[in-house]
């Protein structure tokens, strides 16, 4: 083992949390190194956010093609064929562009790159591939997460895939069972349904994507079913039997599901390999951090999926930024996650920020709800996307916005505006001072805000 170099900050892990932390620390003047054992960009760029969105876009395009004739666009033969090799190739091209972009950003900011497994030793140095030692004033451990497996008999079958595996598949399975109807399961289910699979989602809870507002989850279920996916809720899987050509998935008290492949999407667990010889306080496998992103070991920070607080890329971005600022300039900046949205990139998209109605009712005694349906939105109608709604929850006392829930066209984009409104503490009456362009999907947000004050023009007068 040889001593390689000294740094102000060494980052372990080159995913969203890690690469942002490294760049931010460098921008603040620190000497920085980053260690990555796989591909830069982490889960998100390589086998997460980006590849799934490329697949979902394909599903969306196929849907457009199938529905085009209702709009007068006739295609000689609508026998759409999917060339999965080509789909892969396109997706890989996008991933490559972005990951090499990350490497270029790191280099342009003067960050030293170490390729290999990084582990922290007893002296709080970072050891790369058990062979190089790099010394650091501060360490940022951003090891991220990996798919979790559960203890179902038969789960070891090679027909049971993680999202990583499914994203590498070269053939569209005829039937795909999705075990776990969370965000990842629902998104992957929909993309493969679009690509031609018959998809069955099996969810333990009583509804898909359980953290969503009840109404939104119900609407999503309705739409997804209408598109031909099967959803089985409140389902406890007892055994998976590999029958050679097919899988039989046995469910307690319900009919078995027969499928060619199964996706296991029941959650993700932190990758703790980087911990090495250091003992951190953890909680159910997640590294505990304070609001500065510092672990129980002074001088070591742990932003991103590794702390399990909210496993999202944009949360990892912000945590990485906060960790870097505190590592370089001393603990001063707290993480604030109020404005962090959650998005499901189904078609229609689903997005939320803040509290659900149930949560808001529990916390505030006087809330008001504004709502607008995309069925009355001009752009949605013109675009054959007139389904779903916007729901805004506000505190009646101060007009504070508590939560925004959207299912419908452009939800992922509109929610960023809701995040801004909440982060800036803009009240309901102030939002509607803005002039929203016409026709936009975003007008539905405007109308939902106006509805809270009973001032919406495009909602029929309510009977008192």
């Amino acid at each position: 083992i040889r001593l390689e170099d000294n740094y102000n900050v060494v980052v372990i892990g080159g995913g969203p949390a890690g690469y942002v932390a490294a760049i931010k620390a460098a921008q603040l003047g620190a000497r920085v190194a980053i260690v990555e054992k796989g591909e830069f960009g982490g889960t998100c760029l390589n086998v997460g956010c980006i590849p799934t969105k490329a697949y979902l876009k394909n599903a969306e395009i196929i849907e457009h093609i199938r529905e085009a004739s209702t709009r007068g666009i006739l295609i000689d033969s609508s026998q759409i064929k999917v060339d999965m090799e080509k789909v892969q190739e396109y997706k890989n091209g996008v991933v490559k562009k972005l990951t090499s972009g990350v490497v270029a950003l790191l280099k342009s900011n003067g960050v030293d790159i170490y390729q290999g497994v990084g582990k922290i030793n007893k002296n709080k140095d970072v050891v790369v591939n058990d062979s190089q030692i790099i010394k650091a004033d501060k360490i940022i451990l951003a090891g991220g997460s990996k798919a979790s497996r559960i203890n179902i008999p038969g789960i070891e079958s090679d027909k049971v895939l993680t999202s990583d595996d499914l994203l590498a598949i070269k053939e569209v399975p005829e039937t795909l069972a999705v075990i776990g109807g969370g965000v990842i399961g629902t998104e992957m289910g929909q993309s493969f349904a679009g690509l031609g699979s018959k998809v069955i989602i099996i969810e333990m809870m009583d509804r898909i994507v359980p953290p969503l507002d009840h109404e939104v989850s119900a609407e999503l279920t309705r739409i997804v079913k209408k598109k031909g996916m099967t959803i089985i809720t409140s389902a406890r899987i007892t055994e998976i039997v590999d029958k050679g050509d097919k899988l039989e998935i046995k469910i307690d008290g319900k009919d078995s599901v027969i499928a060619d492949k199964a996706l296991i999407s029941i959650g993700r667990v932190p990758d703790l390999e980087g911990m090495g010889e250091v003992k951190f306080e953890t909680e159910r496998g997640k590294i505990k951090v304070d609001k500065y992103m510092e672990t129980s070991v002074k001088g070591i920070y742990a932003p991103g999926d590794v702390n399990g607080i909210k496993m999202l890329a944009h949360v990892a971005f912000r945590m990485g930024e906060v960790a870097a600022e505190n590592a370089v300039k001393g603990n001063h900046r707290s993480i604030k996650l109020l404005s962090a949205p959650s998005v499901v990139y189904t078609s229609p998209e689903v997005a939320m920020v803040g509290l659900t109605e149930e949560e808001a009712r529990a916390k505030y005694d006087d809330i008001r709800i504004g709502r607008f349906n995309f069925a009355a939105n001009g752009r949605a109608l013109a675009s054959s996307e007139a389904h779903g709604f916007v729901k805004v929850i506000a505190d009646n006392r101060y007009g504070e916005v508590l939560g925004v829930h959207i299912i419908g066209p452009s939800a992922a984009e509109i929610i960023t505006q809701a995040s801004l409104i909440m982060e800036m503490e803009i009240t309901v009456d102030e939002v509607i001072k803005t002039i929203y362009g016409h026709p936009t999907y975003s007008e539905a947000l405007f109308e939902a805000f106006a509805d809270i004050l009973d001032e919406a023009v495009h909602i029929p007068k309510k009977k008192k």
Binding site: G399, T427, D429, E430, K433
Partner: protein, 60 residues
């Protein structure tokens, strides 16, 4: 019972209004706000500033 911190209550103001007031040396608490819920806006700072600025700047 009256609130003891009433005097130091943070005034509602837009970020631009705050930046302007700070640079112009205006006590934002004295500026009447024209925005919703009395929020002080850029225009209010400019209106607040200009009368005194004009009188002090004029020599005739």
């Amino acid at each position: 019972t009256g609130r003891s911190d009433a005097g130091v209550r943070k005034v509602l103001a837009t970020p631009v209004a705050r930046a302007m007031a700070k640079e112009m040396g205006i006590n934002i608490n004295e500026v009447p706000g024209s925005g919703p819920s009395g929020r002080v806006k850029k225009e209010d700072i400019l209106n607040f500033k200009s009368p005194s600025a004009e009188t002090s700047g004029r020599t005739d």
